[in-house]
Symmetry: C2
Subunit: 520 residues, 2 copies
Amino acid sequence: MNGAQAVARTLADCGVTTCFANPGTSEMHFVAALDTVPQLRGVLCLFEGVATGAADGYGRMTGRPAATLLHLGPGLANGLANLHNARRARTPLLAIVGDHAHYHKRFDAPLESDIDALAGSVSGWVRRCARSADAGSDTAEAVAAALRPPGQIATLILPADVTWTDGATPAVPIAARSPSPVPDEATSAAAAALRSGEPAVILLGGTGLRRTALDAASGVAQATGARLLAETFPARHERGAGIPPVDRLAYLVEMAASQLAGTRHLILAGATAPVSFFAYPDKPSTPLPAGCQVHVLAEPGDDVPGALAALADLVGAGDAQRTQPSAPPLRPEVPDGELTAQTAASVIGALLPDNAIVCDEANTSGIWLPAATAGAPPHDWLSLTGGAIGQGLPLATGAAIACPNRPVLALESDGSAMYTASALWTHAREQLDITTVIFSNRAYAILTMELERTGAPTTGTTARGLLDLSRPDIDFTALAAGMGVPASRSATAPEFAAQLRRALAEPGPHLIEVALPPRG
Amino acid sequence: MNGAQAVARTLADCGVTTCFANPGTSEMHFVAALDTVPQLRGVLCLFEGVATGAADGYGRMTGRPAATLLHLGPGLANGLANLHNARRARTPLLAIVGDHAHYHKRFDAPLESDIDALAGSVSGWVRRCARSADAGSDTAEAVAAALRPPGQIATLILPADVTWTDGATPAVPIAARSPSPVPDEATSAAAAALRSGEPAVILLGGTGLRRTALDAASGVAQATGARLLAETFPARHERGAGIPPVDRLAYLVEMAASQLAGTRHLILAGATAPVSFFAYPDKPSTPLPAGCQVHVLAEPGDDVPGALAALADLVGAGDAQRTQPSAPPLRPEVPDGELTAQTAASVIGALLPDNAIVCDEANTSGIWLPAATAGAPPHDWLSLTGGAIGQGLPLATGAAIACPNRPVLALESDGSAMYTASALWTHAREQLDITTVIFSNRAYAILTMELERTGAPTTGTTARGLLDLSRPDIDFTALAAGMGVPASRSATAPEFAAQLRRALAEPGPHLIEVALPPRG
């Protein structure tokens, strides 16, 4: 078999069964090889940023890597922004990047570029496959690298001649490393801090935001009086009725500082120490109060649920755990009247289906969503982890392919949606059960706010024009229809509720444009 | 003034009057500064790849850099593919990339990434501005670097604190370096080769494809019997009735080899030695025949027109130049009947307006275009220089802003259009006189061909599905309307002609979807 066939066969043997692809000439042998391995599903994306964002969503929901197939340096470049988000999400992901045949590189053909430099900027593991005979073993190592806890991007660069040369063999899977157990000293130190009687916060992140970890953390909080907070942009947060509720640390550093005011001990459980998303003149880079001691209970790659369970035992949370608070099954009513970010959130809270996956890139329009959905049936909430916009629609693509029996809700802002709107075409082609809600306020509203926060003068028309998405207004229902996704526009809250009910009830993709007041 | 104001002021003083922008929080002071410098026009693009492609189009048409304003590493990443094309086009271009405040970088905030690695992959010059006091002088140096012949990408990384700190001053422009004169030895060597009587080809590229250079080259060809060829993907080729016609070297290496068969001397005038776009099993990496001697008359950064004029003098082309052949003003008739790639090309050849700028990303659908437009009124033809698709609509954006009094025709294939379709929104907002023609064959047709050429098996449905753009069909008229661009669909050649006539006659943007036979 040729190198491409060995890669495909090894992928399937290692449990990598989905490849989000946007191939070019140098990947044609790999594309052909897909037909020799029926376990490996190829999903066409019309832009590489869709492929990488989809692999991120897939990896977050399954804990296993999907592969992406990208065309040389420019294809990888187009996928980098969502790889950046995947890196921040610590998602296991296997980026396969085709390259010129090795003997062709010295000719500096038009598509030649520095793939290694680009790959290095987002990957925890990069290898250029040197020869067909290595294709299988390199692939197995790449999968193992992607799975290294907590998960990372592994990039395998596949020269075209490696893919077409015979003499390759598939490799056997490499056993995945488990998350590291947390040493007793770390648990003891955290327990001592919690027993000090001084104000303490446990900051949860990564696998610390899955249900069993949340149960244990909640027991610790009950037993010790510590408060729980979630990292600001979790990769995946299990929440809803019956699950211990945990507020997220705020995006704005002043608000985060207020949440942490008075805290003497910050205990990190799968999260990193909080920082301001951006720097601003005369504002601090971190919301941590002076004198707050930071304790690392568990790194993101550690066994965070295990560490929290051990901590619960140490602090005698056994009884508390049985009476721990969980979010009550309270949902907002469907409101009457105008559509605003707040009433739209109430509609979503009222109608969010059981076991939903929410891909949240609502940005400023999303501030009412956490409260409105706190008592909805249990669901997973996936955030924009790395701040690179254009993630939501691709992420939903991958989540829906990972979990075909769960409803997926993509909550998108208009500015971000325009980055990777062609994901809608893949929603249609694969008939994915995704309901996309576009919060259309016709502005980069977050920048209107940020412009003021940075202290820059805000009176000029040029500056305002660069933050404004009107002139012309974008008709997202036309864009969706153009790509095969049935779409509607809501002007009032009851209209939105009726359209959302229908979209959720019908299989396949839908899009609803929620027309918000300008910059609302 | 603060650093951002010094940058903006210096840009305008250096003749950089257009900034294609997709800003974020770290660029807010620069955005605000635009209002202090009315000579500097900010053009909002809804995706960074549109901004960089537009700056490429602008730079190709004016010979001066436009600036792009990009948001941190992910914003630069999104712009990289079209920066790759600009690098291959040798376009002067100034990429301004905002970054976190320098003191914030150590906190590894979510958007932190290796900007320098990404910038280095496409730029001839990269600098990170260290302090506000340097902002003006760094900007002047960046503009001078972008203009260094033949033109290159200069990337200036602007930390947020540099932009908001006072104490900056604008810098005076640095005189641009001129293209290097070609030494007499190079001209003499070329002349000797041409006088040898052995078959010779002059391969023209860069500024060798502008009218004065073409006139001189044509004289040389007349006087010596040498043949002229143009590089395969010229950044800008002046052509049409009254201009010496020059065929382009073919994309497929076998066809290029056939064009060069028997050639004993290849004289490079602003072009580099030809290579195969891709490697294929058992095909050569270069189309050059064995024993062909390559002579460099002029490098791309040299004074190519001057070198050709000197060569013309040396070979006694004075008389020949007066009788040199030029393309006759012959245009095809508007054909009747079905729309195919060939009849669509005839329609375009029949109707191409005087002084048009053609941005060509028609790919496989474009093979009939060169012949069909050879006798059209004089026009500029801009090609996909680096093979990174998604260039056409952004390139047209920049060309139209650079040359507001010239009609711009964007010839796009459907697969490529989907990469950067949001450029249409900027066409609408700026009311640019761009007519976009989408050649819709509902396939990555070039890959269907390449799949066969690589010798990969082609029978599988998975492979075919990854090259197919149907299921669902994309309705480009809906996409265009959703972004404010009036659009129509043509099913026959006369329909296309009527719609193209109307679109060219009306100011502002239009889109015509040309429905081709599947994979036609």
